[in-house]
Amino acid sequence: GGGDGGAAQEKTTLTVGVVPVPSSAPLFIAEKNGFFKAEGLTVKTEIIQAPQAVMPKILNGSMDAFLTSYVSLLAINDSGAAKLRLFQHVQTAAPGIASVVVPKDSPIRTAADLKGKTVGVNVLKALGQTVTNAHLQQAGLKPDDVKFTAVPFADQLTALSTKKIDAAWLVEPFLTAARNDLGAVEIIDTTSGPTAGLPLDAWGVSEEWLTKNPKTAAAFHRALAKAQQVASADRNAINAVIPTYTQIPAAAASAMKLGEFSAEVDKASFQKLADLLHGYGYLKSKPDVTTMIPSKIG
C-alpha cells in the first residue's frame, strides 16, 4: 500500500470502537507503527464492551468501525437491524483459550456431570453457550439439560468461588486467573474437538459505510491488514501494545495464550459457526457467510 493523497478520501478521521481485549491489538500496532498516518488517517478509539451496544452509533454514522466477535456479527445481521460486513479478520480460536471450568473441589469432572447444573457465560445465546452446547451434545446431553446464566466475565470468578454457579465458561485472561487463583479445573476445552478452529473476532463495518467511503475504506483496510501481518508474524508486537489499551500488565500479556492472528478468515469455519448458532436457534435464519465478506475493499 502507499500513502496516496488523503484529499481523495471521503473522510480522514475515523472513530473506532475497541474492546479492551488482545484482539484489538492490530489496530494499536498500526497506530504505533504509523500505518494510519501513512494513509493520511487519524484514528480515534472509544472503549466499548460489545458491538451490540454501539450499533446506534454505527447506524447514525458517528462510529465507523468496531471490533466484533463473529457471533455478534452474525447476530446483528440476523436481526436485520443493520447490514454488517467483515472488514478485516483478526483472530481464530486455538485450543485451550476458552474452557468450561469448575471449582477445584467440585464433584463435576466431565461434560456429562453438568446435567442439571448452572453454567455462567458472559452473554446468553452467544459463543460460550454455542460451543459448550456442541460439547454437551457430544457427551450425550441436550442443550436444555444445563442452565445457562449470564454473568460478566469479570464477575464469574467470584460467582464460581462462592458457589453461586456450578461452572463457568471462561476465556483468557480469566481462564489463567481461574487456574492460578482458584485452582479451577478445566472440564471442557471449548475451542477444540467439534468446535476447533472457529473464528473469534474481526473488525466490522456497515455495508452502507463501505459503499459511502470506498477510498477511506481501502486506506483503512490497507493499514489494518499491514498491522495484521505484523501481529501474525510477531507475537512480541502484540505483547507490546496490549498494556497500552488494556489493564493487562506486560508480563501477563506475554504469558497469555492467544488464538491465531491470520490474514483471512477461513470461510468454512465461519459457516460452521453460523450453522451451529442457527442449529441451536440463536439465529432466526440460516445465514450464508459469503454475503458478509465483501469481495474487494476499495
Binding site: M55, G80, A81, G120, A126, A150, P152
Partner: protein, 246 residues
C-alpha cells in the same frame, strides 16, 4: 369512571403524534407505535408471557415492600438520631452513589444467582430515595409537634412518621417507578427469565419492536402501579390534602 378515563386523553394523543413522527422519520431505532403493538400482539400469541411476567412482578412486589419498609424505618431513625446519622450517613451517601451494576461482584458474594440476587438488587436500588426522603422529612418535623408529643409522652416515632408523611410519600412515589427499573436491571445479569431478561434479549438480537414492547409494557405497568399507589396515598394523606388545598 368515564370522567377518570378522560384524564388519560394525553396518552392517545401522544401515541398518535409519536406514530406520525416515527413514520415520517423512519429511523430503525424508533418503530411507530402500530408496529410495536403488532409485535406485542404477536409476542402475546406465540410466547408464554405469564412465565416472564409473574416472577418479575413477584420480585418487584417483594423487593419494593422490603425496600420501602426498610427505607422508612432506617430513614426515620437516622433523621431523628443525630448521633446515629453521623455514624452511618457517610456510608449511606457512599452506598447510594454506587451504580448497582458495579456492585454485582459484591452481590455475587452474598446472594445466590437467580431470585435472591435479583431481590437484593431491587432492594438496594429502591431503598435510597425512600431513605433519603424519610431522613430529611423526619429531621425537620415541626418542633411544636414534637414538644406536644413529649409533653403528653406520646410515642414520638408515630408523630414523626405522620408529620414527615408528605415527604415520605414523595420518596415512595419515586420508589414505585424505580422498583420497576430495578426489576429490569436486576434481570440483565445472572437471569434467565423475566421482563428485563427479555428486553435484553431483544436488544441483543436487535428485535427493536420487541425492545419497545418491553418499554411500553413497563410504561403501562408504571401507570397502573402509580394509580394504585395514589389511591393508597389519597387515603393516608387525606388530612394533608384537605389542609393544604388552598
Amino acid at each position: 369512571m368515564i370522567r377518570r378515563l378522560a384524564w388519560y386523553w394525553l396518552i392517545p394523543v401522544a401515541a398518535l403524534a409519536w406514530e406520525m413522527v416515527t413514520r415520517s422519520a423512519g429511523a430503525v431505532y424508533f418503530p411507530p407505535p402500530s408496529t410495536i403493538l403488532a409485535r406485542m400482539r404477536e409476542m402475546a400469541a406465540t410466547e408464554d408471557v405469564a412465565a416472564d411476567l409473574v416472577p418479575s412482578l413477584a420480585r418487584l412486589a417483594a423487593g419494593w415492600a422490603l425496600a420501602a419498609a426498610a427505607g422508612v424505618a432506617l430513614g426515620v431513625l437516622l433523621g431523628r438520631s443525630p448521633l446515629l446519622a453521623k455514624l452511618v450517613e457517610p456510608m449511606v451517601h457512599f452506598g447510594r452513589s454506587v451504580p448497582p451494576a458495579a456492585l454485582l461482584p459484591v452481590f455475587l458474594v452474598f446472594f445466590k444467582v437467580g431470585t435472591p440476587i435479583q431481590l437484593a438488587a431491587i432492594v438496594y436500588g429502591v431503598l435510597w430515595p425512600v431513605l433519603v426522603n424519610s431522613m430529611d422529612g423526619a429531621r425537620h418535623v415541626d418542633t411544636q409537634y414534637l414538644d406536644t408529643a413529649q409533653v403528653f409522652h406520646l410515642p414520638r416515632w408515630r408523630v414523626v412518621l405522620a408529620a414527615a408523611a408528605p415527604k415520605i410519600f414523595a420518596g415512595l412515589r419515586l420508589s414505585v417507578a424505580l422498583a420497576l427499573i430495578m426489576m429490569v436491571i436486576s434481570e440483565l445479569y445472572a437471569s434467565s427469565e423475566g421482563i428485563g431478561h427479555r428486553m435484553r434479549e431483544a436488544e441483543g438480537s436487535f428485535d427493536i419492536p420487541a425492545m419497545w414492547a418491553g418499554i411500553v409494557l413497563l410504561g403501562v405497568l408504571g401507570v397502573v402501579l402509580n394509580g394504585l399507589f395514589l389511591a393508597v396515598e389519597r387515603r393516608a394523606l387525606r388530612w394533608h390534602r384537605g389542609r393544604t388545598a388552598a
